[in-house]
Each structure stands twice: as C-alpha cells, then as structure tokens.
Symmetry: C2
Subunit: 159 residues, 2 copies
C-alpha cells in the first residue's frame, strides 16, 4: 500500500489528502465516478455503503447511506465540476446537518501514475477541528487504501 499523506495545519479550515496511485488517471477517475464501484471503498470496511443517488456532472446530486453498528447515516451533496482533472463537490453529513464542506479532488498523471490531491474545506476552523477529533484520519486512510486496492484491480483488467 502506498502512503496517504494527510496535512492538517493548525488554525486552517481545510484538510489535505495526497496519494499516488500506480495507474493511469482514467482508471482512478472511473473508480471515483462509477456509482457501482463506490461501495467497495467508500467509508470504513466495517460499514456497508449504499449509493442512493450519484450523478457525477455539474448540478448532479449524490447521496450515500452508511450502515454500521450505530445505525444508518446519510451523506449528500452536489457536484460543481466533474472532469478527469478535477472533481469539485459539496458534502454534508446528515448526522450534523448545516455543516457543509467543499471537497476538491485533483488528479494529475505523470509517468503512468496518478498523483491525487484532495482538499476538504470546512465552514470554520472549529468545524475542521471537530472533523479531525472525530477520528477522520483513520477512516480516510482506510478509504484510500481500499480505493488503491480497487484501482490496482481495475488496472489489471484487460482494457
């Protein structure tokens, strides 16, 4: 597994995630935008994720349901931009309504590898810090490791 770099600077409102995938960009983009693939990596493995709606285009909506030991939680948002270079979307955890984050994923291909950078921007430093305190870091590492496994499987399949 490649390392997931997570950058949390004090006093800032964002969290930055960086990862290098050993696959071309179109494969990583497909993993991020194909609704049938999302449940295999989104969220911690012990939770079951269902894609209720996912329309990866400007103005499209998304809503995922996550079922775990504590019950079922919804997450939803809308897409502002969806291109192989950039995905910009809003995100709201329905367990804490009213806190909307702006998430930007940037994908850059170099020498057959995809350099992925995602920025999650919270409404305030306090909201950002609450997300960090909730144990987000472990969940995010698990998500990106699972995404990496999926990307490697997709890369092995005949085109």
């Amino acid at each position: 597994m490649g390392e997931t770099e997570i950058i949390i600077e004090p006093g800032k409102q964002d969290i930055v995630f960086k990862k290098v995938f050993d696959a071309p960009r179109d494969i990583v983009f497909r993993a991020l935008t194909d609704p049938s693939l999302v449940p295999s990596y989104w969220g911690p493995a012990e939770y079951e994720t269902t894609v209720e709606v996912m329309e990866p285009r400007p103005g499209g909506r998304w809503r995922y349901l996550q079922r775990g030991p504590e019950g079922e939680f919804g997450f939803h948002g809308v897409y502002h931009e969806v291109t192989p270079e950039r995905i910009v979307q809003t995100s709201e955890f329905e367990g804490a309504p009213g806190h909307v984050a702006l998430e930007t994923a940037m994908l850059e291909e170099r020498d057959g590898k995809t350099h992925y950078t995602a920025v999650s921007l919270a409404g305030s430093v306090e909201e950002r810090d609450a997300v960090v305190a909730s144990g987000m870091e472990g969940g995010a590492r698990e998500l990106y490791d699972r995404l990496e496994t999926l990307v490697e499987e997709l890369a092995k399949q005949p085109a």
Copy 2:
C-alpha cells in the same frame, strides 16, 4: 440605507456579510431566489447582469453574465441547499477558473425584520485575500444596498 457589515479577519479563509432588512424573511428570500429579480441588484449598477440559468433547488445550477466596460464575464455554480432559512451554493468566477467558493446565506426573522448573514468561503487564505484586494468590498456594499432597495419595494407591494 442600512449598513452592511463586512468582516474580514486576517489569516482566515472567509468573508462574512451582515445586513438587516426591514421586511419579513419571505420577501428577502423571494428577492434572492427569483431569477427575474436578480438583475436589479446583482453586481455593481454600472454592469448589466443577465441570468442565463437559475434553478434554486438542491442540484440546480446558476450562471450569471455580467457585461461592463471591460467585456463580459460569467459566474456560475450549483445549489446545495435552498430553504427560506439557508441558501448554500458554490460560486466560480470564470475570469479566474478553478477557484471555487462556498457561499452560505442565512436568513433569520425577528420582529418583522430579516437578519441576513452570508459567508463566502474561499479555497485558501490567499484566494480570500485576492478577492478582498480586487475591491470586492465596494461591490458588495453596492449589491446589498441595491438588494435593500428592491426588498423595500417588494415589501410595499400588496401581498
């Protein structure tokens, strides 16, 4: 004209706008969400604003064109949430593509007046400071004064 309070704290990524409108919330909400009313207040008076698309509902898109002495510029985004209490949307100035802001407008009615608070959240402190340096403050005061004029006119009309 009521004062528009603009809060720009050093090192932060957002700009906060506060204004009290002497009208019930449904009138302010109507002014903010009726496409036919937007050109009368959006942007500086010397520019002509055209609403190309405006779908004020979750997943709806918006795009305004502003024509002025320097030519025509587009602004666009998508709506995450639209209720009389809260409008959450993304916003991108097409003259500087790639810089997406998250804009939240909160409307609270007290004693027949509407207390309006808007937060514009930029992708970084540098992006926020560039917006401030561009003379945003004067433009915003003009926008909110024009919006106030419109709201007062709407409030005078028979229901």
